[in-house]
């Protein structure tokens, strides 16, 4: 971020010199307006009962043109157009595109530098969490007591669906976006991503999605829950069009990002960085984005099909016309179950990465960590129908899906072994990111074990569709993965911003939010066990106490998260200037100066050992196999 010693801005760039977020928004609006006007004239703007196709056509066309206009205005198509015209990029063009010497303004452009993309992702993620968090507060406010009705059922349902999908998207990108982009290339000793322009493309596609997703607020919301089951989705207002366009564009973005990150890690690791010397965070990121590559296309397909049903008279899911609702459910969960591990794995991997730094011990059984991640990835694509035990779709398949689901507890258990093995006898340097690991382990053991109850078919009869499920997945995704992301922010903050994270303010925010989190969702487990369904705007007086407790907890989380946000903003703007390696860590990203120069390394490093060489030899538990000079240690 420092701009004190700035050289001249490169001469290249051509048209890209004129394009930025402002031109993107402007072009997006112009395209969207033209699309809306023409489509409206052709298909009718009407909202009448016999014109629902026309209405959805207009909005789908408007949103598509917004995205195309936005991407045009940011300059995503300049490169391909120049290329097809035979004008390849000059060195100066590339330096301009990488944001060389452009200070703050490069964060508002189609900049290819992976570090800029990482920071951009962080901002987008935080924005989504902020909106999703406000929506969560609206939900919990409505549920404080049986009689608090801040809004009607329609709005309540719309808010629940919006909260769900916003949080899902935010959690999917929260680690691989900011840290997968900023940290991973440096960590593996590369100068940038394999495909820097695709990297910028994936980020700006997400950016173009944000207004589409939020437009649902003005188009009737997403009153179907984030799963948007059919044929309920067909009854929903045009907010559903926002949903399906979001998913389609998001799937393209995640495919582009996934291919890019996987290629980068496979092809561009520094000399000597064998797979055994590749940091565990890199494995976590590759597992996550790699898993997204098969997962999201099915989700995208389901939404393309649902778009056909809504706007073009298709009959994929419209049961009244002969469509198949179970087809949707299958396509949805074919994405939906791998997706929770897309979210979870990088959060845990970030913590496995920095745990050895604070415990000053090697990561316990690196191989088990790799195998655990691989095992989860492999099994996670075979478990989707455990979400469908109660649909009646294929009762004979319940037992095999119970098997695959329960098997996941073995590789997940290996990750727990890695964590507690690393903690074992380690003299802990109790900085805030380290303490976040403890919080994660507490939350995730609850989230993980309650998942085993849900995997059991007969038990799921009692729990499926209840608040118990809501509590369970918040414990895994929020208590596990999101806390992992909070830890990652605190840990890599000095490298990304050049300033230290304020652990005093941060600790208040973190612990208040953790206490609130446990209060909220333990309350939710209780009402779920007692029989409260999910996604209900009002409830029986049986559940009054539990809901009140949950709402009090939710306000506590919100307070804590605001303080945490304040800590981030305060530290970013006026925190203590960070040294290059404040934690004494051994991975490569800490060996380069802060702020990290363009292209990261003057000379590419050669790797001779794994990055976890902390601690003193322990002769009882780990016999020394290599000869050691006498007098090496006292």
């Amino acid at each position: 971020m420092s701009t004190t010693t700035r050289g001249p801005i490169p001469n290249g760039g051509g048209l890209m010199r004129r394009l930025n977020l402002g031109t993107a928004i402007l072009t997006g609006f112009i395209f969207a307006f033209i699309g809306w006007y023409i489509a409206g004239k052709v298909f009718g703007f009407g909202d009448g009962p016999d014109n629902s196709w026309g209405r959805d056509r207009v909005w789908i066309i408007t949103m598509s043109l917004w995205a195309i206009g936005f991407m045009t205005g940011i300059g995503a198509f300049v490169g391909p157009v120049r290329w097809v015209m035979g004008k390849d990029q000059s060195f100066e063009d590339q330096m301009y595109l990488a944001g060389k010497n452009q200070g703050i303004s490069r964060y508002f452009k189609f900049t290819t530098d992976h570090k800029v993309v990482g920071v951009q992702y962080l901002i987008v993620t935080m924005l989504l969490f902020f909106v999703g968090g406000i929506l969560a507060m609206l939900i919990r406010t409505d549920l404080i007591s049986k009689n608090t009705e801040i809004f009607g059922s329609q709005t309540y349902n719309a808010v629940v669906g919006l909260h769900g999908i916003i949080m899902i998207i935010a959690t999917i990108i929260m680690v691989t976006g900011p840290f997968g982009n900023f940290v991973v290339p440096i960590m593996i000793g590369a100068r940038d991503m394999a495909f820097p322009r695709l990297n910028a493309l994936s980020l700006w596609l997400i950016a173009s999605v944000v207004p589409i997703l939020l437009s649902a607020v003005f188009l009737g919301g997403i009153p179907t829950g984030w799963s948007a089951y059919e044929p309920l989705g067909l009854q929903a207002p045009p907010g559903m069009d926002s949903y399906l366009m979001t998913i389609i564009i998001f799937a393209i973005s995640s495919g582009v990002a996934g291919a890019n990150i996987v290629t980068t890690v496979v092809k561009m690791r520094a000399r000597g960085m064998t797979w055994n010397r590749t940091p565990i965070f890199v494995y976590g990121v590759v597992a996550s984005v790699g898993l997204a590559i098969p997962a999201f296309p099915t989700f995208m397909a389901s939404q393309v099909m649902s778009g056909f049903d809504r706007a073009a008279g298709g009959v994929f899911f419209d049961t009244a016309a002969g469509g198949n609702d179970w087809l949707y459910t299958n396509l949805f969960w074919l994405m939906g179950h791998p997706e929770v591990y897309v979210i979870l794995i990088p959060g845990l991997a970030a913590m496995m990465e920095y745990l050895p730094v604070f415990v000053r011990k090697p990561l316990f059984n690196f191989n088990a960590a790799v195998l655990g991640i691989a095992g989860i990835v492999g099994l996670s694509v075979m478990v989707w129908a455990h979400h469908m035990y109660m649909t009646g779709w294929a009762p004979n398949l319940n037992a095999p899906f119970m098997l695959t689901t329960e098997l996941i507890s073995v590789p997940t258990g290996m990750l727990f072994l890695v964590f507690i093995g690393t903690l074992w006898r380690g003299r802990v340097w109790a900085r805030l990111p380290m303490l976040a690991v403890y919080a994660m382990l507490w939350n995730f053991i609850i989230g993980g074990l309650t998942g085993i109850y849900l995997s059991d078919v007969p038990v799921d009869v009692a729990l499926h569709g209840s608040m118990y499920v809501t509590a369970h997945f918040h414990y895994t995704l929020m208590g596990g993965a999101f806390v992992g992301a909070m830890g990652a922010v605190m840990y890599w903050f000095p490298k990304m911003t050049g300033r230290m994270f304020d652990e005093k303010i941060g600790a208040w925010g973190f612990w208040i939010s953790q206490i609130g989190f446990n209060v909220t969702f333990l309350g939710m487990f209780a009402v779920g066990l007692a029989g409260q369904p999910r996604r209900v705007s009002s409830y029986s007086s049986l559940f009054a106490t539990g809901n009140l407790v949950s709402s009090i907890g939710a306000y506590t989380i919100f307070t804590g998260m605001l303080i945490f946000l304040a800590a981030i903003i305060h530290s970013w703007t006026s925190g203590e200037i960070a040294p290059a390696n404040p934690w004494g860590a051994k991975t490569l990203e800490w060996q380069v100066p802060t702020p990290v120069p363009l292209e990261n390394f003057e000379v590419l490093p050669v790797i001779t050992s794994d990055p976890y060489g902390y601690g003193v030899p322990d002769r009882l538990l780990e016999p020394i196999r290599e000869p050691v000079h006498t007098g090496d240690h006292s």
């Binding site: 191989n367 074992w424 109790a430 059991d456 007969p458 066990l529």
Partner: protein, 262 residues
Amino acid sequence: MSEHLDDQLEAQLPADKFRAWTKRPYIRHVFLIWLGLTILFEIFGPVQAHLMGAPASEAMKAIEDTMSLFTYTAAPVAALVISVVLYSIFGWRQPKGAGPSNESPAIKTNGPVTTAWVVISSLLCVFLLIWGLGEMNSLAPRNNGVKPLVIDAIGNQWVWTFKYPDNGNIESNQLYMPKDQPVVFHVSSVDVVHSLWIVQLGVKIDANPERVTLAHVTPTVIGRFDVRCAELCGLYHAHMQTNAVVVSPDDFNTWVANGGHA
């Protein structure tokens, strides 16, 4: 902690080593914390059963028993993780103000521990699976020569309708069932996906448009229970609930004779 033990132990036999290892002070502490936490977490078994309320069918009883069993089994597992966490915080943490330590042991891995961990977690997993399969098998409907009472349960935004084809096609918005009589639900929907959930009877199955799904139960307790919709079905999903009334066979016959009025 007394690392000097390490030197004395180096030359000993594995069995002696293990015994000596158990004498280390932190082992005793972690073990005691684990024991305490296990007992503490076991409390969630009865708490859970209390929250779920008294079961009103064999199926629900089996579900609650399974959940108790899972909780009793899970408690020591959770306690193991949390006891290491607690000892790490209170026993192994550097004093306040101290920087990173240079005295942590460089334990890269431990074969026997890893093996034991994976074997035990796999055994637990196999146990879970066998238990689940056995339970599914024992809860599967059986033809014991008793003809089950057929009830059509129809989801309709946002009410449940129950029809009794064996009893002159009576229609009711409350679910009446005789005690100790096997019942089979033919569940369907006229619009979107709903889910028939009879909470205390341990019945849940989706109501899908254009299809019929089946659910079986034998109510064993006379009383009034809750029927809810467990799948978001639109505007008044939250209000799509009614009562399940389990009565004696005589009362049920009276109800039928009255054409579905109590």
